[in-house]
């Protein structure tokens, strides 16, 4: 069944994304990895929507695309501001959130 291949692709993308979020030090690359994760979710939604023959999954995927666009807009704006303040976008140097 083709669905399993879609799901496998989604899983691979998700793992790459998770790896990127955890291991990367560059904020822009982390944002890109988050996009990868969101897209792997989209693939999953579409795969299941195709299997069930319903339009709901497509609709949700469209919503996710729109939300992802907004998210990356906000994220990049934050990265820009961080860069202006600290002249660096290395996430390692940002530890003001320490409890």
């Amino acid at each position: 069944m083709l669905t399993s291949q879609f799901l496998l692709l989604g899983a691979i993308l998700f793992c790459i994304g998770v790896y990127g979020v955890i291991a990367r030090k560059n904020a822009v690359l982390v944002l890109m990895s988050i996009e990868l994760i969101l897209n792997s979710v989209n693939i999953n939604l579409l795969a299941f929507a195709l299997r069930n023959g319903s339009a709901d999954g497509h609709t949700f995927a469209l919503y996710i695309i729109a939300v992802a666009a907004a998210e990356v807009g906000v994220g990049l704006a934050m990265v820009l501001l961080i860069y202006r303040n600290r002249r660096s976008i290395g996430l390692d140097e940002l530890s003001e959130m320490r409890g």
């Binding site: 319903s54 390692d92 320490r98």
Partner: protein, 762 residues
């Protein structure tokens, strides 16, 4: 005549017809390549733009040629089926979304015109924008712009149609604001974008209405979705639609056309769009963008035909809007000093003619006018650009910086005069054939009032174009044209041409500029011969090739979607060539196009309109010579002395106060009261509730504080705080402040949770 069951000889096809979808795809690829690699190429990406549009032109010409073969291979009165290919790209909830091509007569004509003019404009831009700081991006946007129009023209259903339509809207925004460093340019770009978007809502609404109204019928009878243009056309003429629904759909779609094609009252963006580079204006105003609105009406003509009762006894909204547009835009052209604005208003007025034709059932003359107008209007804009480029230091002010240029720029002058005569509608230039045919057919279908409006518009057109010609090319040279330098306060294009090699007085432009102008000028003379009604039936090529035949079609599905066997059905009465399509519900078949009438050409009517045009030219010439040439004291300062003239001038100079009305009237009247109302609501209602609640809460709080809080709660809290403190000290190291650590924790937790789920569910 043929029996209903008899199969006709198959229509001829061909590679270009089958692959006409390449026409928009190649420039799209060109756009991507320019964006990715343009800056590294020797010509900064411009070669990719020109090449991709040349390829597109080859495809379009091949398709046009093979379409002519296809029409010739069909029998008389046989419906010539469009060449349709579709690919499904999305399937959800039982609805299939397709992308594909729909090539018919209208498609190939507009495809050819767009590809042809885009190619010439790109060649022209090579020279005109040389040294511009965003040269590569300019060519990228210009290429995508053409691709958007081509995609819209070839679209098989309404979703790709909408896609092409929006790509054009976006690219026009980018291109009008090309020199965005100047605040006025970016404002013009925004104005164009928002005004067109106001209309675009109509397109979305119209598509939605049509889909929900037509989908059942089209799925059942044709196996097509409710987005398909063929399906919608057939449905509109099938007698199935509810008259209110189809009226709403037609009006919604017409609102989109008003926005895109600059019809009254949304025409205000078009003249401001002149802030863009001249090649953009030329492309925007001749074959792309503004023609899109007219094309929409022509493409979905059955919807308008049935919805607005075209050819019915009373006039309809399209004709009313078009007539207003023709007259007010032509009147505005008289008070402009910027040559490009004169041409912009002229475009608005000519689009009014096309709409008038469509509204009055003169479909073919309107499409023919798209065809001829594209050539001469592109030529006029390119001539204006040539003058600005080589003679007036990028100023387009006719009164200050032009005059007497005919000696310096012979090619530009000749091309300008030819195109002006074509625009005015002088025999035998191309505009005569198309414009006269529109006016003729509007009268022929019984709309006498609108025919008179059309003739009046012809008078005004002749007059304002004569005024512009006089100011540009005759009289004494003024300002920059006389060799003066140094007024840098005007002219949008200044910064872009800072390194222009010579500024030594007016001279003829280089060959890359004059060659496209010359080609277009030749077409401005001869394009009219493609449908020269005055010379008899045998000259009416466009009528034969382009007009969809209103035959009743029996469609049998053979071999899946896109391939259907088409059989012509005889008309009910022998010897009567009119099909019932459009007038009554077709029996035993489907109509794709309504039966339209064609007015008989009479030289007497043509002489009347020619006389009006010549009168316009003569009156305007005499007035211009007296006013601008000799400074006749009776005319100079008339607007100061005569109250009526002053009032008229101020009304025109302020563009009928429409811009003021939109900004102060609509924008501030909506935003002001909304803000005031929200403030009042906040102050009185919300605050009142809050105050009341607060007072009540204060009284209760007093009691609660003393008894519950101090004794009961505090005891508990103190105890738990001690516990938390101990726990916090234990887990504090996890709170490293590193985003990565948090992420790792999050995913680890999620993984554990997933594992638990899996175990629980197995």
């Amino acid at each position: 005549m043929f029996a209903a069951s008899e199969t006709l000889a198959p229509l001829s096809g061909g590679w270009f017809l089958d692959n006409a979808w390449l026409a928009p795809v190649v420039p799209t690829i060109g756009f991507a390549l320019i964006v990715l690699f343009g800056k590294r190429l020797p010509k900064k990406g411009s070669e990719l733009g020109v090449l991709s549009l040349l390829a597109s032109l080859v495809v379009a010409s091949g398709a046009a040629w093979q379409w002519i073969q296809r029409v010739n291979s069909a029998a008389e009165e046989q419906f010539v089926a469009p060449v349709v290919r579709t690919w499904s790209w999305w399937q959800a909830g039982g609805v299939e979304f397709t992308i594909g091509q729909h090539v018919d007569g209208l498609g190939v004509v507009v495809l050819f015109v767009v590809a042809f003019i885009s190619t010439l404009v790109q060649v022209y831009s090579l020279e005109y924008l040389r040294g511009d700081r965003r040269y590569t991006h300019f060519f990228a946007s210009l290429t995508l712009f053409s691709a958007g129009m081509l995609a819209m023209v070839i679209a098989e259903d309404m979703i790709p149609f909408l896609l092409g339509w929006e790509i054009m809207g976006l690219c026009s925004f980018i291109l009008i604001g090309h020199w965005w460093e100047d605040g006025a340019n970016s404002r013009a770009a925004l104005k164009a974008f928002f005004t067109v978007r106001t209309g675009d809502i109509g397109l979305l609404v119209g598509i939605a209405i049509l889909f929900f109204a037509a989908n059942d019928w089209t799925t059942e009878n044709l196996g097509l979705s409710g987005f398909s243009i063929r399906g919608i056309s057939a449905w509109a003429l099938s007698g199935d639609p509810n008259s209110t629904v189809i009226l709403m759909a037609a009006i919604a779609l017409f609102i989109a056309s008003i926005g895109k094609s600059g019809q009254f009252p949304l025409h205000t963006w078009l003249p401001d769009a002149m802030a863009g580079p001249t090649p953009v204006s030329s492309l925007l105003h001749s074959s792309t963008m503004v023609v899109a609105g007219v094309f929409l009406v022509a493409r979905l003509y059955p919807v308008f035909f049935a919805g607005l009762d075209i050819l019915g006894p009373s006039s309809n909204v399209i004709m009313a809007i078009a007539a207003i547009t023709i007259v007010i835009a032509a009147a505005l052209a008289f008070v402009q000093t910027d040559i490009k604005r004169v041409l912009a208003y002229s475009t608005v007025s000519q689009l009014g003619y096309m709409m008038l034709g469509l509204g009055a059932g003169a479909w073919l003359p309107a499409v023919f006018h798209i065809f001829t107008h594209a050539f001469f209007k592109a030529c006029l804009f390119l001539c204006a650009g040539s003058v600005g480029h080589s003679a007036s230091h990028h100023s387009f002010d006719m009164k200050r910086d032009m005059g007497g240029l005919r000696k310096h720029m012979p090619i530009t002058f000749a091309a300008w005069v030819v195109s002006t005569l074509a625009l005015c509608g002088v025999f035998p230039f191309s505009g005569f054939f198309s414009k006269d045919e529109i006016i003729d057919n509007v009268g022929g279908n019984g709309y006498t009032f609108f025919m008179i409006v059309g003739l009046g518009g012809a008078f005004l057109t002749a007059a304002y174009m004569t005024r512009a010609t006089y100011l540009m090319f005759f009289g004494e040279p003024r300002g920059a044209a006389a060799g003066e330098h140094g007024h840098d306060t005007h002219g949008h294009a200044h910064d872009a041409h800072a390194n222009h090699p010579d500024h030594s007085g007016p001279h003829e432009s280089g060959v890359l500029i004059t060659a496209p102008i010359a080609v277009l000028a030749v077409l401005a003379i001869f394009a009219g011969l493609f449908n020269a009604t005055p010379f008899g039936e045998s000259w009416e090529y466009l009528k034969k090739w382009v007009e969809p035949r209103a035959a009743v079609v029996v469609e049998a599905h053979a071999g899946g979607p896109g391939e259907s066997l088409i059989i012509a059905v005889p008309n009910a009465e022998e010897g009567h060539s009119k099909s019932p399509c459009g007038k009554e519900t077709p029996q035993d078949g489907i109509c794709y196009a309504p039966q339209l009438n064609h007015a008989k050409f009479k030289w007497s009517k043509a002489f009347l309109s020619l006389a009006i045009v010549f009168a316009g030219i003569a009156v305007s010439w005499l007035l211009s010579a007296a006013f601008y040439g000799r400074r006749d004291p009776r005319l100079v300062g008339l607007t100061q002395r005569n109250g009526l003239a002053r009032a008229g001038y101020r009304l025109l100079a302020n563009k009928y106060y429409l811009d003021d009305f939109y900004e102060r009237g609509i924008v501030s009247s909506v935003s002001g009261p909304v803000a005031r109302g929200a403030y009042w609501f906040n102050q009185n209602v919300l605050d009142g509730i809050l105050h009341g609640v607060a007072r009540g809460a204060k009284a209760i709080a007093h009691v609660v504080y003393r008894d519950i809080d101090q004794r009961l709660v505090d005891g508990t809290v103190n105890a738990s705080a001690d516990a938390t403190k101990t726990a916090g000290a234990t887990v504090q190291p996890i709170q490293s402040g590193r985003v990565g650590h948090y992420g790792a924790l999050l995913f680890a937790t999620a993984a554990v949770a997933a594992l638990v789920f899996v175990i629980l569910n197995t």
